[in-house]
Symmetry: C2
Subunit: 313 residues, 2 copies
């Protein structure tokens, strides 16, 4: 079964998720190339399941940009996997006692609870490095110059998203702001948006953009996909904040009410639930409008925007 355009969205997502899981299992280093315990720790976190939202976005963007290409998915899959490795690394480090001190993730004890803080730091480091090794490896079409250029553009984009101007910077803002939501130094709406744009938005944008670049999208198409993903990332974050208030731990697989308990700034805390839902819906509309500008309205990217806006886990 391939994830073609005729499938219902749920089936399309399920098929892609399986393909991504298989690809991730194949790219993770194993003993004896790396020591057994670090290999186990990396697998424990990466293969714990999860929505695979970011790599799905990469593959969907590649499919949207090059719907008739037989190689677009193969070209985009290493980037999709690399992005999921980076997402997983960030969860491992964010969960550490020195950061958010979370003990439950994807329905299982967090990595540092099982393997200790030192191994959890190392497993995260290893996943971040492995992501770039994967991105730089020989592409399916050999050493074609155009493909090499695309790969370098994708590495640059993903590294910027992961680094101190992106995810690391966002987590640094979060670290400082946590526990201070009622203080004079708490984040206002603009600062909250900036934090999320770095912490989750940057990698979501890089996910979609990487797929578009690997599939050979023109600069204009890549820019439209980037705008789409910026709005999608905002919707994703607002819904995430809402689910932290109204969701159920079982379905989410993580600690619920954690943000509020830690005094973290959230959309419901700043705007209330009703206005937060409205803001999420507006962001989905903006994402769809960006697709329309690049004539990508009739693609899976559009379905994914509506899925993100309405998800309950």
């Amino acid at each position: 079964m391939t994830a073609d355009a005729s499938l219902p969205l749920d089936d399309y997502l399920r098929v892609l998720r399986q393909e991504i899981d298989d690809a991730l299992a194949a790219v993770l280093p194993a003993s004896p190339a790396c020591p057994a315990d670090i290999a186990e720790a990396m697998r424990y976190s990466v293969l714990a399941g999860g929505k695979r939202f970011r790599p799905i976005l990469t593959l969907a963007a590649a499919g949207a940009v090059a719907p008739r290409s037989s190689t677009a998915k193969a070209l985009a899959m290493p980037a999709a996997c690399a992005i999921e490795l980076i997402h997983t690394y960030s969860l491992i480090h964010d969960d550490l006692p020195a950061m958010d001190n979370d003990t439950l993730r994807r329905g299982r004890p967090t990595l540092h609870v099982v393997y200790g803080d030192g191994m959890a730091i190392l497993a995260g480091d290893g996943l971040l490095a492995e992501a770039f090794a994967l991105l730089a490896r020989a592409p399916v079409e050999g050493s074609d110059a155009a493909i090499a250029g695309r790969k370098l553009a994708v590495i640059r984009r993903i590294a910027d998203a992961a680094g101190s101007t992106g995810m690391v910077g966002g987590q640094a803002i979060d670290l400082r702001a946590s526990g201070h939501v009622h203080d004079a130094g708490a984040l206002d709406a603009d600062a909250l948006r900036d934090m999320h744009a770095r912490k989750t938005g940057a990698l979501i944008r890089a996910s979609a953009v990487s797929g578009a670049i690997m599939a050979g999208g023109s600069p204009g198409v890549v820019a439209a996909v980037d705008d789409y993903a910026a709005s999608l990332g905002l919707a994703f974050q607002i819904v995430d904040d809402i689910l932290d208030v109204v969701g159920e731990g079982g379905a989410l697989g993580k600690t619920v009410g954690k943000d509020a308990a830690a005094g973290k700034p959230t959309y419901p805390a700043l705007f209330g639930l009703t206005r937060s839902r409205q803001l999420a819906s507006e962001a989905v509309d903006l994402a769809v409008a960006a697709l329309a500008r690049a004539e990508l309205r009739d693609s899976r990217l559009c379905d994914i925007a509506h899925w993100i806006g309405s998800r309950s886990s």
Copy 2:
């Protein structure tokens, strides 16, 4: 003053060190592109000085492979800086309480002592990501296809050195072995060598190889430089272990006797000081022999091997 071949070695190293320091200061992200505290934390560690051994090796290898090229150094400098960022990230993470719990580095309090564990983890993460962003950025000669291929090869090599088969794997072995040197599970000579080959050897090899690749070295020349650096890395580690026993804290800028106190496996602990000095000298000889095979005997790489063998800090 340029670091040309006619300078005495000390002057050559000093000039290169200054060029590297200047380049590092220019490539580190600054506020407002990234939050001020994470920018400060990254600068605190990277600009604390240090021997700059690895980036010097990168530039010296580029100079050895293409002695008459006016662009070899410019092509190799981003790789040299990226490698120093990765080296610094690894020091920050290794010094954490969850790892080696060290409080003094390059003559100053370690990063987590000053900024806290969370910010230290993030600063390390940010440096690792920034290294790859730097490696992927447009090279000096534009989007030349040959240069793009070299850059991808260098990214692959450096990412592998940093990852779970390299530095991360080595630190995982070290983490497990620390405090158990007298136990049945302690590392023997082969295991100690494997740990160091991953923990310090892999990045030292990648440093030299990256310079050789960026300067356009043939596969045979790159392989000889790799062999040279493998022996050089071994010599470097043995001398490091010796200095931990006989060195002075002031000159080294770090805690002396720390390895022995932590019960860490070291060359002097396994072989004694006299035999350790002999092993270091043999490794230097092997490094020079590898250079001779590629007709690189008359290059700075040879001087650097002797410098590493005889260093006292």
